[in-house]
């Protein structure tokens, strides 16, 4: 197969970048829409500012949750590699 010239290759990459950017944009839109909807339904909240207040209230807890699960995974990984 003939090797493509650099400009065509760069153009192909640019198209891939655009597709990924579009995918990323759609994902963000979907995440925001679904997470917002899920939060409103499960916490029975309608007011945006109240929702933000509650999110802020549990922010640290969520952070700790991910930090601790990450630490657990790291220590498990360490144990496995020690064996």
């Amino acid at each position: 197969m003939a090797r493509k010239d650099p400009l065509s290759r760069a153009q192909e990459i640019e198209e891939q970048i655009k597709k990924l950017q579009e995918k990323q944009r759609k994902y963000i839109e979907r995440a925001q829409r679904e997470i917002g909807q899920y939060l409103m339904e499960t916490w029975d909240i309608e007011d945006i500012e109240q929702a933000k207040l509650l999110i802020d209230k549990f922010k640290e807890e969520a952070k700790k949750y991910f930090d601790s699960s990450q630490n657990t995974e790291e220590s498990n990984g360490q144990k496995t590699s020690d064996q």
Partner: protein, 84 residues
């Protein structure tokens, strides 16, 4: 729970592709620059050989070229003329 980062993962992939694109264009530019430099050296060597310029300085060579430039450009056969 392992923290999933689909948005950041996509971002990383985008940045990798952007870097790859920059690299391809950089290499192409470098290759083009080398080809041009090689062409200029060859042209200079041919000019020295056919016009016996070895003993002339660069300003003298330019002066000589200027004297004949118009004449040569007007008289050169069509096949050597720049294609529009």
């Amino acid at each position: 729970m392992d923290k999933k980062r689909p948005i950041s993962d996509l971002q990383k992939r985008i940045e990798q592709l952007e870097e790859r694109k920059r690299q391809i264009l950089r290499l192409a530019k470098e290759r083009e620059r080398k080809k041009r430099a090689h062409r200029l050296i060859q042209t200079g060597a041919l000019a020295e050989k056919y016009f016996e310029l070895e003993h002339l300085t660069i300003p003298e060579r330019e002066e000589l070229f200027k004297i004949f430039a118009n004449y040569i450009n007007e008289k050169k056969p069509d096949k050597f003329k720049k294609k529009e």
